[in-house]
Amino acid sequence: MADPIAHPVGPARPAPAPARAGRREASERRLSLLLLWPVLGVIFAVAAYPFALAVRQSLSAQTGEFVGLDNYARALQNPLLYDALEATGVYALLVLPTEIGLGLGLALLVHRMIRSTAVKAVIFVLAVVPLVVPPVAVGVIARLFYAPGYGVINQVLMRVGVIDHEIGFLSNPVLAMLSVASVDVWQWTAFVYLVLFAGLQTVPRETTEAARVDGAGGWALFRHIEFHYLRPLFVLILFFRMADVLRVFDHVFILTGGGPGSSTLLLSLYLYRIEFKFFDDGQAAALAVTVLVVVSVLYSLVIRVLPVEKG
């Protein structure tokens, strides 16, 4: 039998009867809708339903009684929330520019200086390693470096005579924040490198060669050519990394538990504390819903404000 899709029209073929074609079309539409249901069901089950439950919980007391916006008011009145927001902001300001700067530098270095494919492959493998190490393991390893008493860094510095007393990497509020941020930088700079390095491969060689012939230096090459190809990727990196900063938990929990005091109590640790230490379901749900809404609004603003596509 001839294929009606491969030959939709043709003078040599008689047109199918309109009633038969209509029935087939309706049948296929019904099947399409039928097959769509499982997908919609999964989306509903993993996203919409939990969110609806969170909203309901955020409006309820522990007993299930409706309390309006009380939980939101309590969440916003809790002074620890602002400590957590401040800590998260400081953490983001430390890790995002550092990771983007280092990742970009490394990507440009490898792109421009390394010619050997084998060496590039080795660097690729090395860059992937931090990304596949479980965050818990990263935290445990980092603790071996920073821990009081047996931390490798202090021991090495003391053995070579640079210091005679331990540095309180995890006990001094400022150093504790720098220490937890350094672990993030170690793990995620590689991600920035990989994305930007891939982006640099899309820059047409003839364009950069022409620019070089015209006398463009390294900075001009980056500023006027490569940056325009990388710009959408910077937005992508910012998206992913901002989301990660809001979710970061494991290594901070292992290294400092949010301390000293609440100096490294990031938003995720604070939410965990409200839900699993205080078992205040209503306040935790109110916080989660608020964070979700604020982040969604911020992200949509970022999309509108940042020029994702060149021109």
Binding site: M1, D3, P4, I5, A6, R24, S27, E28, L31, L34, L35, P38, R74, A147, P148, G149, Y150, H165, E166, G168, F169, L170, S171, N172, P173, A176, T256, G257, G258, G259, P260, G261, S262, S263, L265, R273, F276, K277, F278, F279, D280
Partner: protein, 439 residues
Amino acid sequence: MSVPGSSFSRRLAAIAITVGALVLAGCGGDSTDTSTSKPSKITIAAVQGNEDAALKAIAPLYQQQKGIQIEIVEFPYDQLFEKLVTTFQANAASYDLVMMDDPWMPKFGTGGWLTPLDSTFGFQRDPDIPSIVYDVGTWPPPHGAVPPAAKGQEAHLLGITIVGNVEMFMYRKDLSDAPGSWDDVLANAKKFNKGNMAGYVVRGKATNPVVADFLPILWSFGGDVFDDNWNPVIDSAESLRAVEFLVKDLKSVAEQGAENVDAADRSRLMAIGQAYQSTVWPGEITEIVENESVSKVGGKVGYTPIPSGPSGKGFGMMGNWLLGIPKASKNGQAAADFIKWLTSPEVQRQYVAKGGIPSRLSLLNDPALNEQNPYFAALAKSLEAGPNWRPRTDQWNAVETILGTNLNAALAGQVTAQEAVQKSAAQIKDTMSQAGYYG
């Protein structure tokens, strides 16, 4: 070759139906009710660490003797608590037995999630075991302040201790005599705090660790967290003096980075000879301090009950680990049989040989066992002296988090001792108020 649309649709539909049928078949599971027959296996949710090491070691013996496999599912401390609460809230029959830290009992008791062991399975108090050990497994608590929601309820035994932890004190007996008071502790700390040796190890990490280190000091100074009506008294003069003693006096003779030191760091410092004294849990002794394969100070460390303070008394702190049976378990009787087997005098002797920490006075005072376990006598004395327990409130986790965060901030010099107790009192009051403790 082209595929006719109708045939393609039929194939897709057939695949969808087949996949659906397979998924449904997979979801069906085994619906056999094992409540009336001997199960082949009972599952225990346990804490990962030295606390469940002896349990894991002795479990195969039960399978040999009774033919029932003991499956132990381990979780880190924090995750175990969260896992149990969420499992209980879902009324899931995932575990037949659960290991519980004794401060969790108020939460679990208030939730009504555990099967009473006395009225359901006939458990009775054994005179060889101090009554405080049974009291921590009883809800509502037989003495002390009772949360409003539990007032008037009939008390039941909900958990049986399998790790008889009581917080004690350790010091280098090769260097000095045992300290009798916290003044002695400070004097010795000043004397030995030189070179690589810390005069005292403060377990100062935020939340649970620093609170566990602090509460024996607080009580010995005559302070407390609550009065009998659940009003916070952590800002009283006695309590403030105890906080100052920790964050000023002891910290001045403590190890570097005390704000981030937990139990494992403390016992490691002791084991490598870089610490003179500290509080200690029995599990740290067997696992590290007296473990010849990792310790340089085996046989050189003495163990005593917590020294006395200005109140004239010293208070150890209960830190028992108990076994309880979730109401949702389908193997309640088998689980109860296992507890009875494990806590019997004969099996407890084998349990001790595998590193277990008993509560039986006959074992703790046994001279032969004291040779092998140099802390047993101190543990027996601590138990007989009637150690305190952490306040029996279902809000304890929140209270501990508040107090532990503020104490840690005071240790780090971010706030003064006065600010730490004032902030703690205000936040604890707010938490208790929201939980309905003041009517």
